[in-house]
Amino acid sequence: MTGKFTRRDFLAALGGAGGILVLCETEPADAQESGRRAHSGDAKPAAISAWLHIGEDGTVSVFTGKTEVGQNIRTSLAQAVAEELHAPMASIRLVMADTDLTPYDMGTFGSRTTPTMAPELRKAARAAREALAGIAAEKWSVARPAVQVAEGKVFCDGHSAGFGELTRGQQLVESIGPGVPLTPATEWQVAGHSIPKVDAREVVTGKHRYTTDMKRAGMLHGKVLRPAAFGAKLASFDDSMARQISGVAVVREGDFAAVAANDAESAGRALAALKAEWQSEPQPLDRELFAYLKANAEPGEDRQRRGSIERGMAEADRKLSQTYTVAYIAHVPLEPRAAVAEWNGDKITVWTGTQRPFGVREELATALGIPEERVRVIVPDTGSGYGGKHSGEAAIEAARLAKAAGKPVQVVWTREEEFTWAYARPGGVIEISSGARSDGAITAWELHNYNSGSSAIAGTYEIPNQRIMFHPSKSPLRQGSYRGLAATANHFARESHMDELAHSLGIDPLEFRLRNLKNDRQRAVLLAAAEKFGWAKQKAGEGHGSGLALGFEKGSYLAACAEVSIEGGRIKIVRVTEAFECGAVVNPDHLRNQVEGSIIMAIGGALFERLRFDNGRLLNPKLSQYRVPRFGDVPVIETVLVDRKDLPSAGAGETPIVGLAPAVANAVFRATGKRLRSMPMSF
């Protein structure tokens, strides 16, 4: 939905049902760094972020544009509602990421769901509870404050009613803004507890239908002709052989060519029967990547500027300049990009796994040349994203094919397509020059990041003279968001450099960090991790060592300690301790799951993930050629959750990933005396 809403629109969206409807009115969130437009054209995003409906049968339906990609917000948002509505978890149904049914949402990224969407839903639930109590008070002719709501029932003085009994015949629409009182975290009954994933049974029985599992009546299977190199132009095209295969539809629009057939086998044969020649421009080799990024860098802009670097350097007893690099890596969501497109007259519905359903609706409208009102995007709970599914490639492909074929079409990318034609986490070069006094006080810090991004580019250390710059560059690969964005690269560089400085000054790395930190939350997680890990007791030996790193991003603080051993020239991560603080913990078990999962995903980028490319072609677009973490790579993991019930909850799906790589780099240095400054790290 776009533009202004009317009460009738809402009731129509709910199938004309009565009951109680609460609308959350808010200002739209700020755009994130992805650089994409927040929203199209003239219509500003509706200042309604979510709504909550209690039907005449008592069913609680919550409507949000957020997507479930494994971060378990379907559970945590239901907890938020259950908490304030005083209703059982099982009575709450979340309708998510359906552009016809849910309000506009910029997308599920930036760890925004918990800090922004959850409070909105809590307010809506609280308002709904008040409304129910009000209806009951009137019905029973009792004083409003005497009415209680608990466990999905409303009661007072021997009266008792379920939500449905009170909402029947109602057509109440309420708008809420700021200022609704919410239950403090110290009093949470449902939120703050380890509620199991709400649809886990559907998952373990194989019943949950991902986009790749969908079937529609008469549905065809689509395959897309891929260019021979990035940016290649279709120079010649002959589809006469493909068209001879029975039931095959062929689409050609500019450089886009694709086929659809009754079954995947026929579609594959038709694709193989297309004859095409491609023309492409020479493109860089991955060996030249870092020189290329620097050579093509823009002057950039200051992200932080304080004091004078010259003065800070003049005050320093030790000076250090080093360069760190990170490779391009792939998200590798286990469910590849996929979409099912179905036209109904001049309207189209597309089911697809994306983190930005409204963004993809806009992409579809543009690609198809139709208004957004005629496009509906629905996102089934998706086989992960990690920031890699912001875009709607498969959606557009399926839509074009469905139009040509006059039937619904499903497009499921192969793993090779997902590696090659999705976007990558940017590679980058980070240069740091620093100075410190012999007492451990850092006097100067100059950092230049080329291409990898500006997330978490400035740390939490107290440094009087700083200059921090981000320089965008020309990327040889298509690049975009990733879990934590550039925070991993910037933490890798900063925390490695901190370790190098500490070593050159002969100060323990923990002590060195504490001397330059005032932030209480940052200090608290650092000390918590060090204590749990046993930092004071650890000893480096031949081929064995420990390292630590700390960090802050998207409202969350962390510290990680890692113990490594070097076996046959290979880095083996033995043990990792991570302390994590994101304000009041909403679901401790799911938070642990995110922290553990982030640490494990981080091992890939730290030790072996790297996209290799040459002249516009990816050289390792298969899982047999691109190694991701497996069971055998997993160290002993200890997580310490610092639960700050006095602070608002921040998102936690991304930030726990940033500490592992620098902690490992620093441990490797302790074990071997060798400093590894490139991710992935190897000897």
């Binding site: 971060q71 998952v203 373990v204 194989g206 793993r415 078990d589 640490i599 899982l623 069971f631 997993v634």
Partner: protein
């Protein structure tokens, strides 16, 4: 080779009409609408497509359907008995051993196969036995815990013979 016309899936004989070279995964998913086994890589590297042939785990994305003819095929849809989940499915729920869940059916089938070979595996044996399955969300420690839990459950409920 002649076309495959019959498969025994989860104890039921199913009519199909498939080119023998097609992958077992595509026949189950596209022709029989059994979508629990997932496509993840198409080269037997990720294990999302894992199912059992005569009780042994196979990667159905690289298994020609001809190899499944005449064998007992068990998919994730066939683990539930009389409305009761398999102990390993229960253990996955109990351990919260998933995030996005896309790898979960393949993980469970690999785990069932492992427990069939070895009733009481050590953690190292679980890690070794599950090494061919990828969970990109990184829930490996929870999956190991779930397999261990299911093994212990089987041990405690086993009747003396």
């Amino acid at each position: 080779m002649s076309r495959i016309t019959e498969l025994e899936v989860n104890g039921i004989s199913r009519r199909v009409n498939a080119n023998p070279e097609r992958s077992l995964l595509s026949v189950l998913r596209d022709d029989l609408d059994l979508t629990g086994a997932k496509y993840g890589c198409g080269e037997g590297q990720c294990g999302a497509c894992t199912l059992l042939l005569d009780g042994e785990a196979v990667r159905s994305c690289i298994t020609p359907v001809s190899q499944a003819a005449g064998k007992r095929i068990t998919t994730i849809e066939g683990l539930e008995r009389d409305g009761r989940l398999h102990p390993l499915q229960e253990a996955f729920l109990e351990s919260g051993a998933m995030q996005c869940g896309y790898c979960t059916p393949g993980m469970i089938m690999s785990g069932v196969s492992l427990l069939g070979r070895k009733a009481n595996p050590s953690d190292a044996e679980i890690v070794h036995g599950m090494q061919g399955n990828i969970c990109r969300c990184g829930t490996y420690p929870r999956i190991v815990a779930a397999v261990r839990m299911a093994a212990q459950h089987a041990k405690s409920t086993r009747r003396p013979s």
